[in-house]
Symmetry: none
Subunit: 250 residues, 2 copies
DNA sequence: GCAACTTCTGAGCAGCCTCTGAATGGGCGC
DNA sequence: GCGCCCATTCAGAGGCTGCTCAGAAGTTGC
């Protein structure tokens, strides 16, 4: 057991082809945000370092040789695109996930992402960042995970993350974006109670100021679509949270 | 027998990978609370130090290199989040359990717990703090305990802490939150008499002003659900307290 | 610029959980 | 065997949690 930190979630960790943990560099000038992000990525079992500006990002990248970089477009010294160019000359294999404000230059981003990279607009949810990063790494051939791929299965409930498609017992279940992310989080942690606070932290954007009440509401939406008329898979644990498990499961 | 203090509980201690005791730093400006907490953690067989403010917390952490930190969000000099960031830069592997007032939760805790970290709202029970801390350490790869994981077993009674599920002889036993915590405390100390005062101190919140009578009441609830119609596992020791043991036991 | 959808707030309701008080039962010392 | 005290159980009040509905505001796509 030489992994620095075993994975919290139920699924096996996504690791590099040689079995060592995925290495990620987080570049953002907001230390709080960088902290939260690196926490979430470490929780995935990945090795994480952070940088607060473009210059130290390049330095760190040279040393760490990361598999992926989470890169804020707006940096105090340069912009993310310049950093990207430098990174690619140093280490052409690296994947990049851009963080950008919603109304920022979408077209330039679009041009960049043609090369296999991806982006997420602020404010984002951690679930989204992690999922995108997993997608990038998987596509980059980093898919030495023990589970079979971009498909999540709990009982007869199946989620295809890439196609954003969910079926239960073969029947298509149509979900809104938030419903989808909530279900993904539940399905990535089957048979484990998740508190409303945990769900809120993970599925809702980090700047969401609302109450845990929304979680109850969305659980109720999910139940109507996922459990509708069937044996329920989503269970309430009073005073603790929610969990999902296969119907046959015990 | 070179452990600094022999363990109170019946289970083998959760130790570090090299066999030395887990090291925990407790940071709270209320000395009484810090004392109670560190007592409970020492009872687990862990090495504990305390700090009363952010500055000394950082100093202590540098010296002790703790595996986990129990950290009050409200500190006299800074808030816990600033301390967290400093801690993580000094010692990225450290787990943090936040202590926070109930109504302060929503605003700023959000996001922080996204990683491996967790929090507990005041007023809490010691059993809850210890359980959360054990969960954190286990997930952080500190799981060099002799028992197999997040499953507690006494005879045919099995408790899955992650799923918050209890079965007896394979049959599901549904418990309320307090019942669950009481049973967990009993099961973590099998074949050992626990006094009502001990139980009260451990399972109920530290600000509970009520009488020991509630313990009797909840034992009676538990018996109805756990022992119902079966050979009893929960026993009364008149004048001393209660204990749980396997039916075949002895 | 309109329509459909999505997200979130607030309020009401139902059921559960917790604790108090009191009555009953049972063990142990004397 | 008697009485006392400890333990058990019942019944019920009150508070709290979680679920649902309805509607407002914002967003997206056409």
């Amino acid at each position: 057991m030489n992994t620095p930190r075993s994975r919290g979630a139920g699924l096996p960790a996504l690791t590099r082809p040689d079995g060592t943990p995925v290495r990620v560099l987080v570049v953002d000038d907001d230390p709080d945000l960088a902290e939260v992000l690196s926490g979430a990525l470490r929780y995935e079992g990945w090795e994480v370092r952070t940088a607060g500006d473009g210059a130290s990002a390049v330095t760190e990248a040279r040393e760490l040789m990361p598999d992926a970089v989470v890169l804020d477009v707006m940096l105090p010294d340069t912009d993310g695109f310049a950093v990207l160019r430098t990174l690619h000359t140093v280490h052409p294999e690296v994947c990049v996930l851009f963080l950008t404000a919603r109304d920022a230059v979408e077209d330039r981003i679009a041009g960049i992402t043609a090369g296999g990279d991806d982006y997420v607009t602020k404010p984002f949810s951690l679930e989204e960042v992690v999922a995108r990063l997993r997608g990038l790494l998987r596509r980059a051939g980093m898919a030495r995970q023990l589970d079979e791929g971009p498909r999540l299965t709990v009982g007869d409930l199946v989620m295809d993350e890439e196609a954003r498609e969910v079926t239960r017992g073969g029947e298509l279940v149509e979900l809104s974006p938030t419903e989808f992310e909530l279900l993904r989080f539940l399905m990535r942690n089957p048979r484990r109670v998740l508190s409303k606070a945990q769900i809120l932290d993970r599925v809702w954007s980090y700047d969401f100021g609302g109450q845990a009440h929304v979680v109850e509401l969305y659980i109720s939406y999910l139940r109507k679509k996922v459990d509708a008329g069937r044996e329920p898979m989503i269970h309430t644990v009073r005073g603790a949270g929610y969990l999902i498990k296969p119907v046959t499961g015990r």
